[in-house]
Amino acid sequence: MEMKHRSFLNGLPGVEIWVFVHFGSFCILPSPYGISKVLELLQWVADIGVKSVCLYDPEGVLKKNKEPIMQRFSSANLSEEAAVNGRLVTRRNLTLEFVSFEDGKEAVAKAANYLFVKHYANGTKEKSDFTEPQMAEALGAIGSGGADPDLLLIYGPTRCHLGFPAWRLRYTEIVHMGPLKSMSYGSLVKAIFKYTMVHQNYETTDALVAVPSCGQKFETSFHPPPFGIKENYHVIHLHFHLFTLFGEFNLMKNGS
């Protein structure tokens, strides 16, 4: 069986999938072998048409050793804003983000301090409870914001998210891909394909949907789409077309 088209997401305007690639066993890297595997994986991800990738390892090894990755996917037009926020737009229009354990609980503690200073600094205690948008804004202000990932691919010995920022994991599909050394293109494609097949159990529509890339997610397996999601139905229909495209292709077995 052959893969007829690799970049099957190309040419679909508005389609944006965020894939967070999570390396559970990255503490044994970096080594030339390890970094080359990461580069290969990112190349596959970019070929598939994924727009944004976040690389997570608990110890922050990738964050400290991102130069070879950025050199490979470097962009001449790196904006200051992107650099400040820790997200780097590459030549292939692939947004990269590097996250580690300190961006999880520690970041929430920093956000709590931010909220304390902002809402209690005038010497009066505000009576209303903090809201999720306020928390999201606080996390963004301290440099740990960002949209929730649609899909978290775990490359490691076990299915465990190892402290990925809790605030961003609420409705993320978490898939265990096995050890990094055994990674395969076919498995990656299969995981993304399976994600697009996730039936979100809407009660009012039978469309296959993906979560719109509006930075807000809803737990749709429990309830009908709330009002806020109606304006994003066009994204839902595009993903439905994506499902159709997948149906035309024969995926390579045990990809290579």
């Binding site: 110890e59 709590a112 600094a121 010497g123 928390m135 010995p157 402290g163 609420r170 409705y171």
Partner: protein, 274 residues
């Protein structure tokens, strides 16, 4: 537990036994549809499955169990479904605190975790009664997440920490010992020493009544955590068997425990690093 199950339990006990297992009981409604059952029957079957799983856990030596009974997101369901689910929850809470229930048999202390103020008064009062009635039990713990999401839990912890720091600062101010915490009135800038750390937040988490889970089991093959124990699950094995919740049985628990034992060293090392 029958003899065979006891034997299996003894074999498993040779290796490390998880201290805390959490369950996302997904698939009750699909089970009812699959079996052409009446509305609500899926949840009742799910309750029976839950009682069995809890018994297996406590027999195995798992001290803490947490279940995701009702998410804050679930309030967005059809009102009649929310109403009937709440009625069932009320009924089952009352069953749990009866003399002859599993709870007393295994010495289980019950906690309800979540924003309980969102619940109707009868359910909230029943939950409070259950917590009081079982407060003397100490062999095992059952945490029931009701009107819960992790994001609400984190927000609550942040709110409590801010309130606590404010109270500390105010107390110091009133004694005349500002110690760096100065609240100036009007439009002047205050010098406030930010001092909330992770330990402060963890103290105020709803789930602080139990250690972090070792395994989270979500049925129906769904791979999401759906805003459940996200803060507590950093080094937790996530197991997603492709069966509906009422279909879960001892063998699934055994598989989960074996997987936990296989990965024990790795997860323990990760816990130390974090």
């Amino acid at each position: 537990m029958d003899e065979d199950s006891s034997s299996i339990s003894r074999v498993l006990s040779v290796g490390p036994v998880p201290d805390h297992i959490a369950f996302i009981m997904d698939g009750n409604r699909r089970y009812a549809k699959k079996r052409n059952l009446l509305d609500g029957a899926g949840h009742r079957s799910g309750y029976l499955a839950l009682m069995n799983m809890l018994k297996y856990c406590y027999e195995l030596g798992v001290k803490y169990a947490t279940i995701y009974a009702f998410s804050i997101d679930n309030f967005r369901r059809r009102p009649e479904e929310v109403q009937s689910t709440m009625q069932l929850i009320l009924e089952k809470i009352e069953d749990l605190i009866k003399e002859e229930s599993m709870v007393n048999q295994y010495g289980v202390r019950i906690y309800f975790l979540g924003s309980l103020k969102l619940l109707s008064k009868p359910v909230r009062l029943a939950a409070e009664r259950a917590m009081v009635a079982t407060s003397g039990n100490s062999k095992s713990v059952l945490s029931i997440c009701l009107a819960y999401t992790s994001s609400d839990e984190i927000l609550h912890a942040v709110q409590e920490c801010c309130g606590e720091k404010w109270d500390e600062g105010s107390a110091l101010e009133s004694k005349g010992a500002g110690n760096g915490l100065v609240f100036l009135k009007g439009n002047e800038n205050g010098k406030i020493k930010p001092s909330i750390v992770v330990k402060d937040l963890e103290k105020h988490m709803y789930a602080a009544v139990a250690p972090d889970p070792d395994i989270i089991i979500r049925t129906s093959g769904e791979t999401r955590l759906s805003n459940f124990l996200l803060w507590q699950s950093a080094n937790c094995l996530l197991y997603a068997p492709p069966i509906l919740w009422p279909e879960i049985g001892l063998w699934h628990l055994i598989w989960a425990v074996l997987d936990f034992q296989r990965n024990f060293s790795y997860l323990k090392e990760k816990t130390k690093l974090s």
